[in-house]
Symmetry: C2
Subunit: 407 residues, 2 copies
């Protein structure tokens, strides 16, 4: 009897944890598991804003897949997925093709630019290792150019963050820490540099507790971050951003717009013909799409409604990891001929947003608010717990954030 | 009786050593000495190619002027010289004016692009700290962009050095050391990167001993540097360089051309009306121009003929430093009413060209040829001797290259 082929697309939080769990729970002769990923490495999306600001090297953020996967148990194919055919049960890769009996789609997010003029062409997004280090270098290059021009261009020193949501706030906090270092490196007076966060909603961090929002804004403003709240970005060009606030159009000269205000699921989802909204598929309770029983969609491409709030769960690492654990268990059931699958219930442990080094805000254990270094320490503990889950103590020691008690 | 005003323009090798020598040899009541420099720091021009390649941080190359000048003895004015009026004995600065009784011009070099189409606009030059770190960042930025584009652009990875003279060879050697680090940092296969040196003369390092030239080319070629010898650069655009060799036009796609094949004296020299050739003034034996007895022109703006070879001495740090010592001694004579000035005779101790870390070629003590690590060690000894002269043992320990015995 032929072993079933399990194919996992993407080695982000969702895909990689699925693979690691299957590696532990399945015997070698129970299934052929193949993990497909574009790069040889996994990266922690939740740390990319630090790589983009230049406060943490990207090699700390990425983990070679072969360091956490036992390739005698799991096949690893480094290739780019170009198409999914759920009817033929076939995956097209840039350099090949794979057939599956069971498919796990963990293809992650893409930036969503909502058709804002020039945004796609001229703004950067914190999407992966390549874009994060490009942002870091783009900022440095502009600082390096500044003193080489007779006519000083302020747009080189105006750093604009599109969106004051979770990622935008975290990135602005890192930038505030990074700017003094950049000024020293390039002989630029710090008071000339501006960090401007532009948010369309009537508040920063929409959805967060107002006390935490106020704390975050005060702390970032004290570090020099400016906020334009209720300001809708209208257009981005090579050297400026135009926004509208209180029915007034305003212009910020800038070469650096980092868009952190919209994500969507992978566009391969739509191309595959799944019923979806912005690349996110409303999945059943067992994380399978309505149309197919042999496909699981997890992580940022999955849409699940929180029945308490009647709103979708946000696409977070926490939920992606839990979905992966649920899916690995369900795959084991299916392989063993058990078609009664376990429903997925998110266990939300809380949310912590970093405000740069040694500062953060968060809500944990349901309603406990955290501020400052205790929130920052909690964030590092969360990050280390993930590494522990992924690769054990060795990985925590190698890639972990171990200075969490550093006051 | 009024103390004479001595004004020194430029704190390069020539100007700064003049100031340091006067500080030691003149009493406070003998003269008012004012040193004018654009930046708060002096830099070692001979190390800039390392900063530009990214193999040495520019803070190792620069020295705060106040760390070597006693400002209770010497006035330091940080400003940019905009004009010299030798008839009115007056210097115009961007933010002021200075009158002098004696003037020392040590304004250094500028790049000479010989009217090659597009070179001035599109090529970089290793001229100062600002341009050196811009080159470093420009190369990094292009490497960072490479993996962010669907259509890979080879011009981002082709690094072209214009000229295989002393600076071009030294820079190519550093680049060869730097490229593997950059490839690792940006996930680029090293075999995709090209370092191409384009030289118009029929040999690399024209004027050097042929055995040394062969050694240098072999060593650099082994590290992956390509040479186009007898190749005349015709045009540089944003994304390519065109050269002519054997009456054939060839094109290299490249975003990075570093021009290291021509320097000239400061253009302020011509604006001041001195008789000059490309900003270099043929000075008398005591380093004064024909027209004025109260002006000394030293360093790269001075032209002096080597009577043995009937060719001008090259504009080197070694000669600039010796000219400064001669001039400081002559200024002391003039202030003491002694108008019989000492003639300048260069004491050429040799030349060593670095080929990247731990490798070099050189001729010292007249005709002794050096290769490899012994030449490399000798180069570091020369650099440290200069620091010793400038700021004593403390400066050697702080900024010196102390790993010269590191094999």
């Amino acid at each position: 009897m032929k072993n079933p082929n399990i194919v996992i697309l993407g080695a982000g939080y969702a895909g990689l944890i699925t693979a690691v769990k299957l590696q532990k729970s399945l015997g070698v002769n129970e299934a052929n598991v193949t993990l497909v990923n574009k790069h040889s490495y996994h990266y922690q999306t939740t740390w990319l804003h630090e790589n983009a600001a230049g406060t943490l090297h990207h090699d700390r953020t990425r983990i070679q897949i072969k360091d956490v996967i036992n390739t005698s148990k799991i096949n690893f194919v480094q290739d780019t997925v170009t198409g999914i055919d759920p009817q033929q049960k076939s995956i097209t890769l840039e350099n090949g093709q794979l057939d599956y009996d069971y498919l796990v789609i963990g293809l992650g997010f893409e930036a969503e630019t909502f058709g804002i003029t020039g945004l796609k062409e001229n703004a950067f997004t914190i999407s992966n290792i390549n874009t994060a280090r490009l942002i870091r270098q783009h900022i440095e290059y502009n600082f390096a150019k500044y003193n080489n021009e007779t006519e000083k261009k302020q747009e080189r020193l105006n750093l604009v963050v599109g969106g004051a949501g979770f990622t935008g706030i975290e990135f602005a906090g890192e930038l505030a820490n990074r700017v003094p270092e950049l000024c020293k490196e390039y002989d630029i007076p710090c008071e000339k540099v501006r960090i401007i966060t532009v948010e369309a909603a009537p508040t920063a961090l929409p959805g967060f507790d107002p006390e935490l929002v106020e704390y975050a804004m005060n702390r970032l403003e004290a570090k020099g971050v400016e906020f334009k709240i209720g300001a809708m970005i209208k257009e981005v060009t090579e050297d400026k951003l135009i926004y509208e606030k209180d029915e007034q159009r305003e212009e910020i000269p800038t070469n650096t717009v980092v868009w952190a205000a919209g994500v969507r699921g992978s566009s391969l989802i739509e191309q595959a013909g799944f019923e979806s909204n912005r690349g996110r598929v409303k999945v059943r309770k067992d994380l399978r799409p309505n149309e197919y029983d042999d496909v699981f969609i997890i992580g940022d491409c999955a849409l699940m409604i929180n029945e308490e709030t009647e709103r979708p769960y946000p696409p977070t690492a926490q939920i992606a990891i839990q979905m992966a654990e649920n899916t690995a268990a369900n795959l084991k059931r299916l392989i063993h001929g058990n078609t009664h699958l376990e429903s997925f219930t998110p266990d939300l442990k809380g949310t912590v947003a970093s405000l740069g080094s040694k500062d953060a805000i968060g809500v944990v254990f349901g309603d406990k608010k955290l501020f400052g270094w205790s929130a920052s320490a909690m964030k590092k503990v969360i990050d280390n717990r993930y590494l522990l889950k992924l690769g054990g103590v060795g990985l925590v020691l190698k890639k972990g954030k171990l200075n969490f008690l550093n006051l």
